[in-house]
């Protein structure tokens, strides 16, 4: 009798711990990040991070200003979203409202395949195809710049935006469409003036999630953005993102050094940014009763 109950309890605890694993891991990661980063506040001082130069390995003066890295990430992310949003939303509209069932069944697997391409493979594609193309089209000295990175990141964001927007568009009640058509609106007018506005919250959330994915992406941007930490909002300038900085420098840094701690601060900023984006999209989705699949 008692053994039975004990067993049931143990099983319950086991299941509970599996269920809460993700929370524990997130907390541990935060804790670990801060533990490694905190001594930086004492020396060389937290204000060092707000400087405009990132030059962590130098015989004269080490500089740990993460501003150029943040602007690099922001430029690349915003450009990527500007490219991805029209394709993602128009694609979602096409798949959910215009395509025949056959076309839909043909298209949807390709979106999933696009979502599943490893980013390093996209990086190759970027180096070999996109970068020379952008160099030629805009007549630049180098094709390794923010724009090239953005194009690759847009390819990664499009599947996210498309599939979640499609869900949102599909969940618009068909009575709205009927009402609009019955008032003499054409199919396109109905889509742009009734269906898309009604699905807007889901579409906004899809863009936020796409942005979250783009901000955190590392490999592809590291391969094609040229990696120079300058503060510039010019899409043809070479930039360096936060993610690429961590990935490139973490392997060679002395553990416990100022450089090491500065990289952890970069990680914290990055994590807060993606956390914020996820939080916003979660709020928006929840508020309108949609959920991410």
């Amino acid at each position: 009798m008692n053994r039975q109950r004990l067993k049931a309890k143990l099983i319950k605890y086991f299941l509970q711990s599996c269920g809460s694993l993700s929370i524990i891991i997130v907390l541990l990661i935060f804790l670990f990040l801060f533990k490694e980063a905190i001594p930086f506040i004492g020396s060389p001082g937290i204000t060092e991070l707000f400087h405009n130069v990132w030059n962590p390995v130098s015989f004269q003066k080490e500089e740990f200003g993460i501003v150029p890295l943040i602007t690099g990430s922001i430029v690349v992310t915003l450009l990527a979203i500007i490219i991805a949003v029209p394709f993602g939303i128009i694609g979602a509209v096409y798949i959910s409202e215009i395509a025949s069932p056959k076309e839909r069944e043909f298209l949807k697997p390709f979106i999933e395949i696009l979502a599943g391409i490893p980013s390093v493979v996209l990086g190759f594609f970027g180096l070999v195809v996109v970068s020379p193309l952008i160099k030629d089209v805009f007549q630049l000295n180098s094709g390794l710049n923010a724009l090239t990175g953005s194009v690759l990141l847009a390819l990664m964001a499009i599947p996210t935006i498309m599939s979640i927007s499609e869900d949102a568009i599909k969940s618009v009640p068909s009575v709205y469409k009927e009402a609009s058509l019955a008032l003499g609106a054409s199919k396109l007018e109905t889509i742009w003036k009734v269906v898309v506005p009604a699905a807007l919250s889901g579409i906004v959330a899809s863009v936020m999630l796409g942005m979250g994915r783009v901000v955190g992406e590392t490999m592809a941007v590291m391969m094609v953005t040229g990696n120079s930490p300058v503060i510039s909002f010019n899409p043809f300038s070479s930039v360096r993102t936060m993610t690429a900085t961590i990935a490139a420098e973490m392997g060679e840094v002395t553990i416990g050094s100022n450089h090491y701690m500065a990289l952890f601060w970069v990680g914290i900023v990055l994590m807060l940014m993606t956390f914020g984006l996820n939080l916003i999209s979660y709020r928006v989705l929840k508020k309108y009763g949609l959920s991410e699949k």
């Binding site: 009640p173 009575v175 709205y176 469409k177 009927e178 009402a179 609009s180 058509l181 019955a182 008032l183 003499g184 609106a185 054409s186 007018e189 003036k193 009734v194 506005p197 009604a198």
Partner: protein, 258 residues
């Protein structure tokens, strides 16, 4: 097939109409003349084809894949299924109210202005005039005039349905189709909708599908009884309700089935 009072003109003329959902025939050889500026009720048990028939009149069935129609549907002596017919023009002329009120999740003003806007009215004052006059016609003006910018989803069910009527009137139709417009409403709101129908028939030809026999009796001038996809009987409402010619009509009216 039934003589309509000489004083009113035929607005909708249906001749030998058959309708199919894919391989399933839903309407069989319908012949019917609907008079102008009167209320015509379509009654019959669920699945008898009355809603399908209603939706053939503004070609709303077109949006369902695999439907097919044979025969003639003439509105103002024009065949609405002629390949040259502009569906947008047709739907401007033949408005529709649905069973479940379906205002857009926009403001009250934008709901009513939607139709006029897509048909090219841009002038703010003109839109305001349309919105006001349609809300007055649909007996909603006094209730909402102070909150035209508020979202229409905040209105009560009965108000939403009257808003949908106002929205349909805003494109200035000749014919208004109503698919059980009061079936989801409480008795008080239903009464308001019925009063409204009585008011509207001065200017519009109204065709209403209803499950509610008393409602058909109260609001309509003519009644058509459908059964299993066929038009069984059509005539003055009083005659249909007091001395129907067909046994099936009588059985249905007296509540023996349906």
């Amino acid at each position: 097939m039934v003589d309509i009072q000489a004083d009113s003109k035929v607005k909708v003329h249906v001749e030998n109409m058959n309708f199919y959902y894919g391989p399933v025939q839903a309407l069989f050889d319908i012949n019917l003349d609907i008079p102008e500026k009167k209320v015509t009720a379509l009654i019959g048990p669920s699945g008898c084809g009355k809603s399908t028939f209603l939706r053939t009149l503004n070609r709303m069935n077109d949006i369902i894949d695999g439907t097919r129609i044979e025969g003639k549907v003439m509105i103002d002596d024009k065949d609405i299924y002629d390949p040259m017919t502009d569906v947008v023009e047709l739907r401007k002329k033949v408005g529709m109210i649905f069973q479940k009120s379906n205002p857009f999740p926009k403001s009250i003003f934008d709901n009513i202005a939607y139709g006029p806007r897509i048909h090219g009215v841009k002038d703010k004052n003109k839109l305001m005039d349309i919105v006001e006059s349609c809300l007055i016609k649909s007996a909603l003006w006094d209730e909402v005039k102070d909150r035209l910018e508020k979202n229409a989803m905040g209105l009560s069910g009965g108000q939403q349905q009257r808003l949908c009527i106002a929205r349909a009137l805003a494109i200035n139709p000749d014919v208004v189709l109503m698919d059980e417009p009061a079936s989801a409403l409480d008795p008080k709101s239903t009464l308001k909708i019925e009063d409204l129908i009585n008011e509207l028939k001065k200017d519009y030809t109204i065709i209403i599908v209803t499950h509610n026999m008393q409602q058909a009796g109260r609001v309509s001038d003519h009644t058509a009884f459908f059964y299993e996809g066929r038009l069984i009987e059509f005539g003055a409402t009083e005659q249909i309700f007091t001395k129907p010619n067909q046994k099936q009509t009588e059985d249905y009216i007296t509540g023996r089935f349906g």
